[in-house]
């Protein structure tokens, strides 16, 4: 009797062990899928959805193989610059015209007289609205990497990520001065640009705003290069700029607020003219992980136009209260 009990108990124990082994082998998630050294980027990409104040209302694909720059004109036409081409779309996203360019255009702006200013691989090019080249010139350095352009009635400002400097030219390409060189007496620390994202733009009072991305700062300059003000905060949190060097791109709304885009944690945000965080336009989960080079433009209705190189699309965002007017 006792022996039989021992045999039954042993068989039950054996079956339990076999059952556990089968479960462990075939029904549990393979430990190999768990990375003990995971960076945890997915946690950082989470955001508070209540901070999102904009809605994506439209997107359209471009006809260029690689896209780098976007801008608008006073008629709200959308200009997209990229590899060997420039495309012009109506405000509704219909292709109006396209021009070939000889190499890659990395940045673009429209001058007040309607001329198209392009920052090319190794030179600056100005063309009329019909695509005819009016003038072109090379920067001084062989190491130049042109990543941002802005223009007013008399000046063309060019951001050079290679030389970490901003050039101010007249419309004929004559160099007037260099902006952002280290000047301790004037309180200019110099630009720190670790990666080829170095954007600039003109504010409401024609002041020049430049992103000092390695310091996570916006810096405002007068045309003569004197520093007016700075703002910015380093943070992985939504209120600041993350990583080594952000924001990568920006645009300015009609009320002087800033629209910024970041890489690493892909997100688009609004900052008040004073530099305080206001809201999110697009959260990280609205982008593919690893997307970078999210150039921005704003039209006369304060719609935000976002260039998404990963998807090869122009994506249009409007303030949630303004959706009905679309």
């Amino acid at each position: 009797m006792k022996q039989r009990l021992i045999i039954i108990a042993s068989v039950i124990l054996l079956l339990t062990v076999i059952g556990y082994m089968v479960y462990d082998l075939f029904f549990t998630e393979n430990d190999r899928n768990n990375n003990p050294y995971d960076y945890g980027l997915s946690e950082l990409r989470k955001s508070d959805s209540t901070l999102i104040a904009y809605s994506e209302v439209q997107q359209f694909s471009t006809g260029l193989s690689d896209i780098y720059g976007i801008t608008t004109d006073p008629m709200d036409r959308i200009y997209v610059a990229g590899a060997n081409g420039l495309e012009i779309y109506s405000a509704e996203g219909n292709l109006v015209s396209k021009f070939p360019v000889q190499d890659t255009a990395y940045c673009i702006t429209i001058a007040p007289d309607g001329m198209i200013v392009l920052g090319m691989e190794d030179h600056i090019e100005i063309m009329n609205p019909e695509g005819m080249i009016i003038s072109r010139w090379k920067p001084e350095s062989e190491n130049s990497v042109l990543t941002g352009v802005a223009a007013d009635e008399t000046n063309v400002y060019v951001a050079d990520a290679g030389e970490k400097i901003v050039y101010r030219y007249d419309l004929d390409g004559n160099l007037l001065n260099r902006i952002g060189e280290k000047d301790s007496l004037a309180g200019i620390p110099r630009f720190v640009i670790p990666s080829p994202y170095f954007d600039l733009g003109l504010g409401r009072d024609n002041e020049l705003w430049v992103v000092n991305s390695g310091r996570h700062l916006f810096e405002a300059f007068r045309p003569d290069g004197s520093l007016i003000s700075t703002w910015g905060k380093t943070s992985m949190g939504v209120e600041g700029f993350c990583g080594c060097c952000n924001p990568s791109n920006f645009a300015i709304l009609s009320d002087g607020s800033f629209v910024t885009s970041e890489k690493g944690i892909e997100r688009v945000k609004i900052y008040l003219p004073s530099g305080e965080f206001k809201s999110l336009v697009a959260a990280p989960d609205q982008f593919e992980e690893g997307t970078r080079g999210l150039d921005l433009a704003v039209d006369s209705k304060d719609r935000i136009l976002l260039l998404d190189p990963w998807r090869n699309q122009v994506r249009i965002f409007v303030y949630i209260g303004d959706e009905d007017n679309e």
Partner: protein, 195 residues
């Protein structure tokens, strides 16, 4: 009869001589081939392609060597020498100093050296590096991608069947010619002197 015996003896002698000559020739050929394989382009070694790597951590956990033969390699020409380095600091570090609590690397294998304000150089201590790829992920996401994982050929046993290649989810491993054993990505890689 006597003449036939003489001929047989000569043939045997000839046979042994020819055999010895052939043996020497085969040995020499074998040694030459072995030397050629070791030094020439005939040999292949394991390497991983950084453009395919997803930093899954298996290079650290699956290699037969302990610590792994996969190490982080720094392509200095691509580096931004950032103060806030995404490959060195934990994501939400408050103070940018070399405190252990601020460092991303689980073995503290990255050395941070001040160059001039605000630039810092980052170098890898290969004896400490376990090839987990955590720093590579941070650098790729927030920086220029100058930190890259590579199989270090001076450590790798070059197994017939690489145990990491078997489990690599992105199929980043392949055999490459031994005379070009590294597959670094980006500009400036040719300036890097690694063996």
């Amino acid at each position: 009869m006597e003449g036939q015996g003489e001929e047989k003896r000569i043939n045997r002698r000839k046979f042994f001589r020819t055999g010895a000559q052939a043996g020497v020739l085969v040995s020499l050929g074998g040694i030459t081939a072995l030397v050629a394989r070791k030094t020439g382009s005939g040999e292949f070694v394991w390497q991983l392609d950084p453009t395919k790597c997803t930093q899954c951590g298996r290079c650290a956990t699956s290699c037969v060597k302990n610590p792994s033969a996969v190490k982080c390699v720094h392509v200095y020409a691509m580096c931004g020498y950032c103060d806030l380095c995404g490959g060195y600091f934990l994501p939400e570090t408050k103070t940018l100093n070399t405190g252990a609590e601020n460092q991303l690397c689980p073995t503290k294998a990255i050395k941070r050296t001040f160059i001039e304000d605000p630039f810092f150089q980052y170098s890898i201590d290969e004896e400490l590096c376990i090839g987990c790829g955590k720093c590579v992920k941070g650098c790729d996401a927030f920086g220029n991608g100058s930190l890259q994982l590579q199989v270090r050929q001076n450590i790798c046993d070059n197994c017939n069947e690489c145990s990491i290649a078997r489990v690599c989810p992105s199929d980043a491993y392949s055999r490459v010619p031994a005379d070009k054993p590294y597959l670094l990505n980006g500009f400036g890689k040719e300036k890097l002197d690694i063996t």
